[in-house]
């Protein structure tokens, strides 16, 4: 049956999701004092950062004092890999999840059972906000495994009591078959995969009103309002955005309600700040800056003031859904050079590392585009005259080998184009490393 609407007042944890500002602050203040003490006592890496800054746990009395704490960045996570930011004994941990990407930039996050529960509850809130109840059939077409997408929504779906289809991503024929045969009502995957499923259904002559889906929860990569409209039309659903990162737990750090005007941050677990990426200064509500998260009650991987590099705006404007938690807009860009391609985080420096390892010059250009709602990644690489062979097969074999090396390092396979020297476009003598033709923001 189609058209089950998300009535106002659908909450997974109504008390906390609609708590007054004072109540939320009270909870946050109570948690932060405990959390800073926990981190200072258990995480030597962060204790050293606090000592260097001359901040003691006693200095943190309310969330307003968070601004006194030092930041954590991806570089810290790399330095402390794998156990340096662990907040509890390994024997208390039950799970790890990890970012896609490479050895150099890989993030390994640890979870106690309480951390898993907290994370899954956040996802459950997102599912209920999208109209989910225990009568729903949730098809999770995010990747399962180290990637947080599948496990997060899977856990959230269990918490709500939905019938959960742990599909993982790929095998679109089977996805469509399950949607049809098992009457899936909520689809969870990346927006580009949702668009692809919609297109494939259209090719098969399945009309949007003929499927049982009513809602979709889509995240892990940037997408536009236009893409939302197109997915909503092609699948006949309401499409909800969800945000999160492995460093903070995974999807569910924030999620959209039926107003679809931004994502409510689960403020009882994650304290959000917007800072000036240059100076680190905290910016007032409504100003665009870099999003920073403090985990208020995570035990195993309790990151304080983690810089996400996502550029964003926070707003406390009253929301018609009744939720009182602060809303963040879709990330509007990055304050570093990270690209998100097909949901995978890619840094140009990784591409450069592969090229140097494989004996190429670091003269390259990454071209990213979105064709038929799927990201494409092409890398132009300059060949030296010494590397050039007069045999077509040799050059093709070099391209193939380099594509393989890139896939191993990046987690996604780009198309390599070997080119003559000086063919990579340079501007003012400096090569332009990335041309991103996707319209994401």
């Amino acid at each position: 049956m189609k058209g089950v609407q998300n009535n106002m007042g659908n909450y997974y944890q109504p008390e906390i999701e609609t708590a007054s500002r004072e109540e939320i602050l009270r909870i946050q203040n109570e948690k932060i004092v405990k959390q800073v003490k926990h981190v200072y006592e258990n995480v030597e890496y962060y204790r050293n950062l606090m000592d260097q800054k001359g901040v003691k746990p006693e200095d943190i009395k309310t969330v307003d004092d968070i601004k006194k704490l030092p930041f954590l960045t991806k570089a810290d996570l790399r330095d402390a890999y794998p156990y340096g930011l662990l907040g509890t004994d390994l024997k208390n941990c039950v799970r790890i999840q990890s970012t896609s990407g490479t050895t150099g930039k890989r993030v390994v996050a640890f979870y106690t059972q309480a951390d898993v529960d907290l994370w899954e509850e956040c996802c459950a809130r997102a599912i209920v906000a999208a109209g989910g109840t225990n009568e729903d059939v949730v098809q999770v077409a995010y990747g399962y495994g180290l990637f947080t997408g599948g496990p997060g929504l899977n856990g959230g779906s269990h918490k709500v009591g939905c019938l959960t289809l742990p599909m993982s991503s790929g095998n679109t024929e089977r996805q469509i078959q399950f949607i049809q045969d098992l009457s899936a009502t909520i689809l969870c995957c990346t927006p580009s995969y949702a668009a692809f499923i919609g297109e494939t259904m259209a090719e098969k002559g399945i009309k949007p009103e003929e499927n049982t889906l009513k809602a979709g929860i889509f995240g892990a990569e940037p997408w536009t309002e236009e893409m939302r409209q197109s997915i909503q039309k092609s699948l006949g659903i309401k499409a909800y955005d969800i945000y999160g990162l492995t460093e903070t737990s995974g999807p569910g750090v924030s999620f959209e309600c039926e107003e679809q005007t931004g994502m409510h941050i689960n403020e009882d677990h994650f304290y959000a700040e917007i800072i000036d990426p240059e100076t680190g200064e905290v910016l007032p509500e409504g100003t665009m800056g870099e999003l920073v998260f403090t985990a208020l009650d995570k035990e195993a991987f309790p990151l304080l003031r983690y810089r996400t590099r996502d550029l964003c705006i926070l707003t406390r404007k009253k929301c018609s859904c009744g939720r009182t938690h602060v809303k963040m807009c879709k990330p509007m860009g990055r304050s570093d050079d990270m690209l998100i391609i097909r949901g995978v985080n890619v840094f140009p420096s990784q591409v450069e590392t592969v090229l140097l390892n494989e004996g190429y010059t670091p003269n390259y250009q990454i071209l990213v585009d979105r064709k038929n709602n799927t990201d494409t990644m092409d890398i132009n690489v300059e060949l030296t005259p010494e590397q050039f062979s007069d045999r077509v097969g040799d050059v093709e074999a070099m391209e193939k080998a380099l594509e393989g090396a890139m896939r191993t390092m990046l987690g996604i396979g780009p198309k390599i184009h070997l080119l003559p020297p000086k063919s990579v476009v340079r501007s003012e003598g400096k090569a332009v490393r990335v041309i991103d033709n996707r319209k994401l923001h």
Binding site: L383, P385, F388, S389, D390, R391, V392, V395, E396, E399, H417, L418, L419, P420, P421, S423
Partner: protein, 139 residues
């Protein structure tokens, strides 16, 4: 004895080949033989020209150029003459990587160019069998 061949990397873009050939034409270098090998993404233009060094210098300003030795054999215009040459190479296990033919001057007889894995062996074999090889100075 071997003939110098230029291999020129051609990007799969409109006008790339014309651009390379124009450079040669503008500097009064004559192209005696050519062939193009192409893949989905790029092509390799193979040329035998009257001034290999100069052509290489000019073309290297824009793209990748490689000079390799190839064997150019005069062919009689009769049935089975190509097979006769290939048989000699095959019997001696000289591997032909690619080949193309051209005619030069007023003689109607074509030349066939072979890129082989062992240029010296191919030259000796073919000369011993009485084939007429063209030399760099005759280009």
């Amino acid at each position: 004895m071997a003939v110098k061949q230029l291999s020129v990397f051609i990007e799969n873009k409109k006008g790339q080949m014309a651009e390379a050939v124009k450079k040669i034409a503008d500097s009064k270098i004559n192209i005696r033989a050519m062939s193009v090998a192409d893949s989905r993404d790029f092509g390799i233009l193979r040329l035998i020209v009257t001034d290999t060094e100069k052509a290489k210098e000019l073309l290297s300003e824009d793209t990748l150029v490689k000079v390799s030795d190839v064997v150019a054999v005069k062919m009689e215009d009769i049935e089975g003459s190509l097979y006769g040459i290939l048989k000699v190479l095959e019997d001696a296990s000289v591997n032909v990587e690619y080949s193309y033919s051209f005619t030069a001057g007023k003689t109607p007889a074509p030349y066939v160019v072979f890129r082989v894995d062992d240029v010296a062996a191919a030259e000796k074999l073919l000369t011993d069998k009485g084939f007429c090889l063209i030399s760099e100075s005759e280009i």
